[in-house]
């Protein structure tokens, strides 16, 4: 799947092109100093080479800082994974029209060979050029080591490597599906890149958990908190995560509700997944709140090492509380993500199940109107507009859905905007099924 993605950030592009220019300029002046040809005149060549060298050095200092501060350095860690496939692709696959063995994504911009090459570039060639170049600038240093000879030879060899690199670098650009688009990407920052569904999904879930108004928690096998998100903390009226992590879950219940919680915990620790149970919590300030709880075991290999789950606040819709108690045996927290035009970017399995849909690809890229009937759509439009335009968050909205087979379902919906920088890029949230509520209510 392709997605237009902001892949090269502004500094990254500035750095790339400035570095490209400086390195080429250094090469041109450098080989004049090497007496390979005459262009600027020796004195000018030396002067310009020096100026360019200092400029590059300053740029590199900033770049190192940038790489570590934004974490982009990880992109350059070489890995042996798929190196063989990549080599095989360039040697044989490309001639047979085989697909690229690796996909470019925003989180993995470089193929394994690029990683390896750029790592060598950054860890060996550039440092070698800088170190030898600096020694070159200070005769008092190199006269201690018997002259500039070795230094000069290494420096020149480094320049040869850079030229060879440049040739290959430019050529390999043409092996991209759209070379011009790749160049454009290095200028504008945006490129159509593959999205790794699993990775995207994981990333979405991660940010959804971090940013959503659904509370997330994770317990170890003793029932102590390992992690909670901001929404969880907010629901428990707690400001400092440190007050929760490492504490036992019993902290969050009135004595009369302790047994219920430990029962659920026990079930999960035996491998069961518990979904959609309305429960009553005790907040930090001893007030009472209500939420719907899901809990599932966390595996490491085959061993259950703890549990995790979501909570969605329902304190405000107290009137539903009783009904909910009977609901959602087979419900689960469904997750969805819409872009700012209302198209689905991601949904989870539980969502798909609720919508009676078995293929995610039937949903992704579709507009949300697909999943609503006409009468409910108006309300959803309002919600969407409010989230996208005003950045409001919606919690505990009872909504109806139109499933794939045309039947209707009922769920509680949460919605919140997600951002890139300060710009709202779309809406995401969770849904909890309450369809059965009515039926069971009727039975009663």
């Amino acid at each position: 799947m392709k997605k237009r993605t902001y892949i090269y950030r502004r500094f990254e592009r500035f750095w790339h092109w400035t570095q490209a220019f400086l390195i080429m300029f250094l090469t041109i002046t450098g080989f004049e100093i090497h007496a390979s040809y005459e262009l600027f005149g020796y004195e000018q060549a030396v002067r310009l080479h020096d100026i360019a060298a200092w400029s590059l050095l300053i740029l590199i200092v900033f770049t190192i800082f940038w790489h570590f501060s934004v974490g982009e350095w990880k992109q350059y860690l070489p890995s042996t994974k798929l190196v063989k496939d990549q080599v095989k692709y360039y040697i044989t696959g490309i001639f047979q029209g085989a697909p690229h063995p690796t996909k470019k994504t925003a989180y993995n911009k470089f193929n394994p060979l690029q990683r390896l090459t750029y790592f060598g570039f950054k860890a060996i060639i550039i440092p070698a050029q800088i170190i030898t170049g600096l020694i070159y600038m200070f005769p008092s240093v190199y006269s201690q080591i018997g002259g500039v000879g070795v230094v000069a030879v290494i420096h020149t060899l480094g320049a040869f490597v850079l030229i060879a690199f440049l040739i290959a670098h430019l050529y390999l650009l043409t092996t991209n599906e759209e070379p011009a688009a790749s160049v454009a990407a290095m200028i504008t920052g945006w490129e159509e890149v593959s999205t790794d569904p699993a990775e995207e999904h994981q990333k979405h879930m991660q940010t959804a958990v971090e940013k959503s108004i659904a509370g997330y928690y994770r317990l170890d096998k003793l029932g102590k908190f390992v992690d909670v998100n901001d929404a969880w903390l907010k629901m428990y009226k707690c400001h400092d995560r440190e007050n929760i992590i490492g504490k036992h879950m019993s902290l969050t219940r009135e004595p009369k509700h302790q047994q219920e919680l430990s029962n659920i915990f026990k079930r999960c620790m035996q491998g069961e997944t518990v979904i959609g149970i309305p429960v009553v919590r005790k907040c930090k300030d001893d007030t009472i709140g209500k939420h719907i709880l899901s809990m599932n075991p966390v595996f490491e290999g085959t061993e259950i090492i703890g549990v995790e789950g979501f909570i969605i606040d329902i304190t405000a819709i107290d009137n539903l509380q009783n009904q909910m108690y009977h609901t959602v045996r087979n419900s689960n927290a469904g997750y969805y993500k819409l872009n700012n035009k209302g198209y689905y970017i991601d949904v989870n399995d539980a969502w798909l199940e609720m919508y009676k849909c078995d293929n995610r690809d039937n949903i992704i890229g579709k507009h949300y109107s697909l999943s609503s009937n006409q009468e409910d759509l108006k309300r959803f439009d309002e919600i969407f507009a409010s989230v996208i335009q005003n950045g409001t968050t919606i919690t505990s909205e009872v909504a109806r859905r139109q499933c794939k087979d045309g039947t209707l379902g009922k769920h509680i919906l949460s919605a919140n905007p997600f951002y890139e920088g300060t710009q709202i890029m779309g809406m995401e949230g969770f849904i909890l099924d309450i369809t059965q509520l009515d039926e069971e209510d009727l039975k009663k």
Binding site: W17, R47, Q96, A152, F160
Partner: protein, 541 residues
């Protein structure tokens, strides 16, 4: 919102471009402004002040100088009545002694100087001292019987005469003429000793020049950078002595302390002491350019700032004694000149080569030198014999690259004893080579006088003698450009032992580098070609 975002992006793009491009425009714009060449005359760091003191005493008022002098010694005695300690100073200098105590490279302490060093011009003083000593600062230094302890033999006025009328007779062993005399076409008058004695002062260029510009018996013969051109040079000839500019006297740089004058000529000096350095006035970082200043650790100022020497009068580059002795059909001595009038052959002396505007050769030099002294054994007569050896190399922190004149020649050595012959050249008897044209006789007499063995055999040997080039400093814009050394066949192409960018490269690694690029290009070409050929197959699939 969309419009806003595009606007924002284009502003961002423009800012980025400006940030990238503007510094470069600025650098290119100011680049020319910050070059050292645009400095006013490169005089940024000159630490020199002209001596503006008036004359310390008016010598015309001293009674002792009003007496009627009949001999130059009387003038000296008169000087010493007041300056009654100066004779001791003078008598310790090499100007007087023609030697000084040194430690030679083999560790022995000995006195060496004009008295016992062999050169490849007129070869040696020895029996010829009576002629050479017309440039001695004394009276009557004819041979080794001269009394170096007699203060009245010191010639004060040869250096301190400011009338420019005092002149020693070229064959007078240090004495001026006593009556009007014509010598080699020049009329010499007996000096007016009273007039001269009453107008003594600090030495002028004339005082120094009349000996030092004529070393080797003629104008600019020896040094190459010291010629009569420096009596009244223009700026193009010498920036320091330019009569319309700095107009500096020799002693402005060659300062003296108790008559011990700064500056060394390594044709006779050995030790790294009492040297003159440009840095004294100009500092070690005189350029407004750190790259140039970086050079001063290893490159002497003279190397770049004296691009050529012998800018006026030609200097002798080669003297081949082995061709001497030929006579013409009538049995007469031969003298030949080239079309510029340079003496190219003489039966009495051999053949000569002369040159003007000579590009110096360059050597490493740390301020110490060794010399060929009477009796030194020649290790390998098949090799060129260095009459003086300049020490130093790249790894020697005291050594710098200096420009030199190398005077090449051929003279005779005794192949049995493996020592240079110090022949008897000048004299009116037939044992003097100039008169008798017989090397054997001249060697016998000369070697006997020098106390050296002589086998009776003599063979020619190639020689080299090194002369530092220090004068005739060019205007700053005439200094060497980078390229003149930093190129494959530049001026330093023969100076080994260090890597110089632009001159040197590792052929091996250059080949590796070029191969690397070639493989890269070929790899790309082959890969692209296969892709091009296979494109239809891919389309079918």
């Amino acid at each position: 919102m969309q419009n806003n975002s595009i606007k924002k992006k284009s502003i961002g793009l423009i800012i980025s471009l400006v940030v990238i491009i503007v510094p470069w425009i600025i650098i290119f714009a100011i680049n020319d402004k910050i070059t050292a060449d645009n400095l006013p005359d490169g005089t940024r760091n000159v630490n020199f002040e002209k001596d503006t003191l008036s004359k310390q005493a008016d010598h015309s008022k001293f009674e002792v100088l009003k007496q009627q002098f009949t001999s130059p010694e009387q003038v000296t005695e008169a000087c010493l009545t007041c300056h009654n300690e100066r004779q001791h100073e003078i008598m310790q200098t090499a100007h007087w002694n023609w030697d000084r105590e040194v430690t030679r490279t083999d560790g022995t302490k000995t006195k060496i100087g004009k008295r016992n060093i062999v050169n490849n011009y007129c070869i040696a003083t020895n029996t010829n001292t009576w002629k050479c000593s017309s440039c001695h600062i004394g009276f009557g230094y004819k041979d080794k019987t001269f009394d170096f302890k007699n203060p009245s033999k010191v010639d004060c006025i040869v250096c301190h005469d400011n009338t420019n009328s005092y002149e020693k007779q070229p064959l007078g062993s240090g004495y001026p003429v006593t009556k009007k005399e014509v010598f080699e076409g020049k009329t010499l008058f007996p000096p007016d000793l009273n007039y001269i004695a009453q107008s003594v002062a600090k030495p002028t260029r004339n005082n120094c020049g009349k000996c030092h510009f004529f070393g080797g018996g003629g104008d600019n013969v020896k040094h190459g950078d010291l010629s009569s051109d420096l009596f009244k040079p223009n700026k193009q000839m010498d920036v320091h002595m330019d009569t319309e500019g700095n107009n500096m006297a020799c002693v402005a740089c060659h300062e003296a302390d108790r008559h011990k004058i700064m500056g060394k000529a390594y044709s006779v000096s050995s030790a790294n002491e009492g040297r003159m350095e440009c840095e004294k006035c100009h500092s070690e970082a005189p350029h407004n350019n750190s790259t140039l200043n970086n050079h001063t650790a290893k490159v002497a100022c003279q190397t770049c700032h004296i691009p050529v020497y012998a800018k006026g009068v030609a200097t002798k580059m080669r003297w081949d004694w082995s061709t001497a002795g030929k006579l013409d059909a009538d049995g007469k001595k031969i003298n030949e000149h080239d079309k510029e009038g340079h003496h190219t052959y003489s039966s009495e002396k051999g053949s000569f080569e002369w040159k003007t505007n000579v590009e110096p050769e360059y050597v490493w030099f740390n301020g110490t030198a060794e010399h060929y002294v009477y009796g030194d054994v020649i290790k390998d007569p098949s090799k060129i014999l260095q009459m003086n050896i300049f020490f130093g190399d790249y790894n020697d922190p005291k050594a710098k690259i200096v420009p030199v004149k190398i005077h090449r020649g051929k003279q005779f050595f005794d192949p049995v004893n493996k020592i240079l012959i110090v022949p008897h050249i000048y004299g009116h008897d037939s044992t003097a080579y100039k008169t008798g044209l017989d090397w054997n006789l001249s060697a016998q007499v000369g070697m006997k006088e020098a106390g050296l063995p002589y086998s009776g055999k003599y063979e020619p040997i190639e020689t080299e003698m090194y002369w530092r080039i220090n004068h005739m400093v060019a205007e700053s814009d005439k200094a060497l450009t980078c390229k003149e050394c930093h190129s494959r066949n530049g001026r330093l192409k023969n100076l080994a032992g260090f890597y110089m960018p632009g001159r040197d490269r590792s052929i091996l690694f250059d080949i590796i580098g070029v191969l690397m690029i070639s493989f890269s290009v070929m790899g790309v070409a082959v890969h692209a070609l296969i892709r091009y050929i296979k494109r239809d197959c891919i389309a079918c699939e």
